[in-house]
């Protein structure tokens, strides 16, 4: 077990846990954002640099600070480590720079993009980005590609997080797509545009943090904040069968896997559940999906409040507020 202090809050975690996961055990505002790390996919992380944190004390044995900001998703904790995330202006400044880099080539097509409203990059740039870009060159452009008949790839929107290739590697039998070329010219592609066609390929849509991989069956159907998300399940022999139905009236517009508070899927669903059962009758409806009240999707969305969860949230917020005052008192 290792004791770490993140933004003044102490937490005890198992050896080998990364700083990011230690912060997630605390929860709340101290959790660094992550665009490429995905808890249910092995070896993800370290690519987007959004989760940078400052280590002010390496460990109890060697209390020197780490010379540079480190990627929290890849750095394991040490006993006695002291980490600063949002309490360090340096980290916030660096994160702002990273967001600006991620947005360099990202097109300004949120009004057209189906991901708008549930996009990690949108949330990230809203919280950490600057309103204006300093980039004056032309943005890189790619043609739209159909990956199979169900997935549309907008390479212009891609931020090269590699999550989709990890899905292909770890969930499906044979990977037929990857990242071609290098640097500015790198792009996700299938060899000779070969269709990605296996039972779990649809999960690429869910893991994509931006709108680069979108569901073709949902393309331009509705803005996500006009739909009603419902938790539902069915008996499926291939997957867990637990999904979210995005409905409008009695129509099921889209089926997706359930994402947790960090927008990560823990239980993947198969393509049959995703594409072939767009009918309310096929599903057992559990009730409205929990939507964070800061999300635009929560507009006109009503759900039952989980009092226990609410109490946990409030308690966590109170501990966090107490922790925020700690550094001020120790360094006058």
């Amino acid at each position: 077990m290792a004791k770490v202090t993140i933004d003044g809050i102490e937490v005890e975690v198992a050896d080998g846990t990364t700083i990011l996961n230690a912060a997630r055990q605390i929860g709340g505002e101290v959790v660094p954002p992550a665009m490429c790390y995905y808890s249910s996919l092995k070896d993800t992380g370290g690519k987007c640099r959004v989760c940078l944190v400052k280590v002010t004390q390496g460990s109890a044995k060697d209390p020197r600070p780490m010379p540079k900001l480190v990627a929290s998703c890849r750095t394991p904790v040490m006993d006695g480590m002291v980490v600063q995330n949002i309490t360090s202006p340096e980290v916030l400044e660096a994160r702002k720079g990273v967001v600006e880099f991620l947005l360099l080539n990202h097109p300004l097509d949120c009004p057209v993009c189906d991901q708008a409203g549930e996009c990690d990059l949108q949330n990230l740039s809203y919280e950490h980005g600057v309103g204006k870009t300093r980039y004056e060159e032309d943005r890189r452009t790619f043609e739209k590609i159909d990956i199979g008949d169900k997935i549309k790839l907008h390479m212009t929107r891609c931020i090269l997080c590699y999550r989709c290739t990890f899905v292909a590697d770890q969930l499906t039998q044979e990977r037929v797509h990857g990242v071609l070329n290098r640097g500015d010219a790198s792009e996700i592609s299938t060899y000779i545009e070969k269709a990605v066609d296996n039972d779990f390929s649809g999960n690429m849509i869910d893991v994509c943090p931006v709108g680069a991989l979108t569901d073709k069956t949902f393309r331009f159907k509705s803005r996500v904040w006009f739909t009603k998300p419902l938790d539902a399940h069915r008996d499926c022999d291939k997957c867990c069968g637990k999904v979210v139905l995005w409905t409008k009236g009695d129509d099921v517009l889209r089926v997706s896997a359930r994402k947790d508070q960090y927008n990560e899927v823990k239980e993947y669903i198969c393509n049959e559940c995703r594409y072939d059962h767009k009918d309310m009758k096929d599903w057992t409806i559990e009730g409205p999906r929990h939507i964070d009240r800061h999300s635009v999707i929560s507009q006109n969305h009503y759900e039952k409040i989980d009092m226990q969860k609410l109490k946990l949230d409030i308690d966590r917020q109170l501990t966090f507020q107490k922790g925020k005052q700690l550094p001020e008192t120790t360094n006058p």
């Binding site: 300004l108 949120c110 009004p111 057209v112 331009f220 006009f226």
Partner: protein, 187 residues
């Protein structure tokens, strides 16, 4: 008595002048005649119109760009900003060969504003990222049924040869935004 508003009824005997009613009647007629020669409080709409503010918020217009393509991309921000929930839309994908009709790859196949719901607050115009919707100085005309007040694209989109001037409603921020030529949709 509790409210202190009750009045005592007095059965007072009227005088002779009061009994013949004529003085009261004449004073009433005098008031009427005096008003006949005053300037009226009303105007004869539609022949004469009252002056309105330059930035009057009246009937909406969906603008086209310089080449005549519709600017609206059905992003739904106006509908989500609308406090009266008057706006609904259905999006569709632009097909090849329709580039001169719609500016973006997605467009509003159906766009409806319920003018009975609309409170003309102008939030839709403020939310619009594509400078597509504007409120104009036109007044929404009257009609007989409720159904006629649901304005579709036929009434909202401006005609190619009959452009509607909205320069007075474009704020400084909007104009500055438009001058950023590096944003592809301004090119």
């Amino acid at each position: 008595m509790l409210t202190n508003r009750s009045k005592l009824v007095v059965n007072k005997k009227m005088t002779f002048a009061e009994k013949i009613y004529l003085p009261a009647l004449l004073s009433g007629v005098a008031i009427t005649i005096r008003h006949l020669f005053r300037k009226g409080a009303t105007v004869r709409y539609p022949e004469t119109k009252r002056p309105i503010a330059e930035i009057w918020r009246g009937q909406h217009v969906l603008k086209r760009d310089d080449k005549g393509a519709e600017r609206c991309t059905a992003c739904g921000l106006c509908a989500v900003a609308c406090p009266a929930e008057a706006i609904t839309m259905t999006a569709a994908e632009r097909k090849k060969g329709e580039e001169n009709l719609y500016r973006e790859e997605k467009y509003a196949a159906k766009y409806e504003i319920n003018m009975l719901r609309c409170i003309f607050c102008g939030l839709c115009e403020e939310a619009c990222p594509k400078e597509a919707i504007f409120l104009t100085d036109r007044i929404v005309s009257t009609d007989y049924g409720r159904g006629e007040f649901i304005y579709g694209k036929d009434k909202l989109v401006e005609k190619v040869d009959e452009r509607i001037d909205v320069t007075k409603r474009q704020t400084q921020n909007v104009l500055e935004f438009k001058q950023q030529k590096r944003l592809s949709h301004n090119k």
